[in-house]
């Protein structure tokens, strides 16, 4: 009975962790799907959002109240980064997007270290400190809100891409850029929007994460590594795939950390990545 309780606890923990991963990963996969760019600075966008949420919390707006503000600010940040930087990378050789976003990663980490120090910083007196019990499973309120909030936002993004005119335009650009241009779609505008929305996803995720995580200059990096794996698992460009991959990775990480050792928790995740890209390169739910 106790083993079953532990199993249920790990299962719930893994699921909720996976849902937060999903929100980070859908931003990455959307940008990849629309413009074939793997944003290596995606984790640093998340780090920036976490600092933004922290800043708002320090002036009295807690992470949940601050969430829409952070998401909107990150949306605008993403559009600006696309307009002034990523657009130029797309005009260069294919490696330019890898190096360029890698440079952005180094630059943003450096700025965070220089301006905000390397200290771990948390929201002072965060809300949702209680525990919720489901039979033998005990979950902190913060974790529950993080996971469910991320699920709602991921579903909202999916609905947006699937059912709105702009979402249709994004899918058209993802499918065939030239044909989309011929149909009168402004590819630059769609790219910019996709980059902005990708940043808004980590904006929301960053605000949610501040409920229970501290922020520091490399806080986003480990999430981004996980997100790369998730996106590859689910199939680059597929939102449903990212959700499935994220839950899978969340479970692998939580169970790996418990049954192997915390130091080895990423080992099953990386093995899963290698197995998928070698055996099924299009990912679990990817096309092509």
């Amino acid at each position: 009975m106790e083993a079953l309780g532990t199993f249920g606890q790990l299962l719930a923990g893994g699921l909720l962790t996976g849902l937060v991963f999903a929100l980070v990963a859908v931003g990455l996969t959307l940008v990849y799907g629309v413009m074939d760019v793997v944003n290596f600075a995606h984790g640093e966008f998340l780090m920036l959002a976490m600092y933004a949420a922290l800043g708002l919390a320090l002036v009295g707006l807690g992470p949940l109240v601050g969430l829409p503000l952070v998401a909107i600010a990150m949306f605008l940040f993403g559009i600006v980064v696309y307009r002034v930087f990523v657009r130029r990378l797309l005009a260069g050789p294919p490696e330019a997007t890898v190096f360029g976003t890698f440079g952005l990663l180094v630059l943003m980490q450096g700025l965070a270290q220089a301006l905000l120090t390397s200290d771990y910083q948390s929201v002072p007196s965060p809300p949702l400190q209680g525990t919720v019990r489901f039979g033998a499973i005990a979950l902190s309120q913060a974790t529950l809100v993080e996971g469910l909030g991320a699920l709602v936002l991921t579903a909202a993004l999916f609905a947006f891409v699937e059912y709105t005119e702009t979402g249709r335009a994004m899918r058209a650009v993802a499918e065939d850029r030239v044909a989309a241009t011929l149909m009168g779609i402004d590819v630059q505008r769609v790219n910019g929007l996709a980059f902005g929305i990708g940043a808004a996803c980590v904006g929301a995720a960053g605000a949610l994460l501040m409920l229970s995580y501290p922020v520091y200059p490399t806080a986003g990096a480990s999430f981004a590594l996980t997100a790369f794996v998730i996106v590859a698992l689910g199939g680059f460009g597929s939102i449903q795939g990212a959700l499935v991959g994220a839950v899978l990775v969340g479970l692998l990480e939580v169970f790996g950390g418990f049954y192997l050792s915390p130091e080895l928790k990423m080992v099953p995740v990386y093995l899963a990545y290698l197995a998928v890209v070698l055996l099924r390169p299009q990912g679990l739910l990817g096309r092509r």
Binding site: R87, G92, L105, L107, G110, Q113, A232, V277
Partner: protein
Amino acid sequence: MTSARPHLLALGAIAALGLLAAFSVQSAVVLDLVFTLLLYAVLGQSWNWISGYAGNISFGHAIFFGCGAYASALCVTHGLSPWLAIPAGVLAAAALALATGFPTLGLRGHYFSIATIAVAALVEAFVRTSHWLGKANGFELPIASGWGALQFGQKGPYVVLALALFVAVQLATIALERSRLGYYLRALRANHAAAASVGIDERRTKLIAFAWSATMAAAAGVLYAQYTLFVDPPSTIALAVSIDIALIGVVGGIGTLWGPLTGALVYVVLAKAVALRLGGAGKGYDLVIYGAIICLIAALRPYGIVGTVVDAIRRRRGAAGTIPPAATPAETAA
């Protein structure tokens, strides 16, 4: 291909300058800078073989550097000669490159890049949990002296060794640029389907380049361990080390003979300047500068410092440039 003579002359001049420094300069600070510069240039060139010439961008190259460093640590702490670490480390690195490259070198673009991160993380997890590899604590090498122990009280001999390694690596790269292997790699990078259609075996070609690349990094690792006498995961195989190696390769210019030395020069000079001016590394100022340089290069000059200079020379000579002119915003918006 242009004549090799100017490159050989330049290399000879650098070797002469390096030897002069090794034997006449007394300042340990300057010699330390020269040693670091040469070591990073070797690591950058090693990365350049697989990521520049072969076009498979690696973010996990530090594991091959680690093979050499750990070979050295294991030999010395088990009472064996550190000279044995050179063949041992090099063979281990080449074997690791073949074993990990065989499945992953067929992956393209970011699939390969992320796979290198995954492989490096697995290697690091293995080292951190293996008792015989010192786990997270690593090794402190016992102090000795002389050529037999490959340790010296002065920094001069280290500079000579690093210089010899650098010259060997540059000569190998000059040879690569003129060899069948080099032409195959260039063909694969330009268009792998077309290259395959004329009978170039992509996996075999890239595996050979990867093994040589790993070999160079391992040799640098042995030298590093003998120099610092301390080997642990964060200083040798961690993701941060891999990122530094890639940084050096990108800043100087990928796929160019002198790019890695240029990148290493920028890296070492900046690290030193930042440490002097702004009070120590680790505060992020150096990262800001590297990051800004890479962003600017990627957005405006994606072929790096050396690539841009080479192209300017070619244009002046009236030959067609290899780099398309930087896109104007109007073109990009189209």
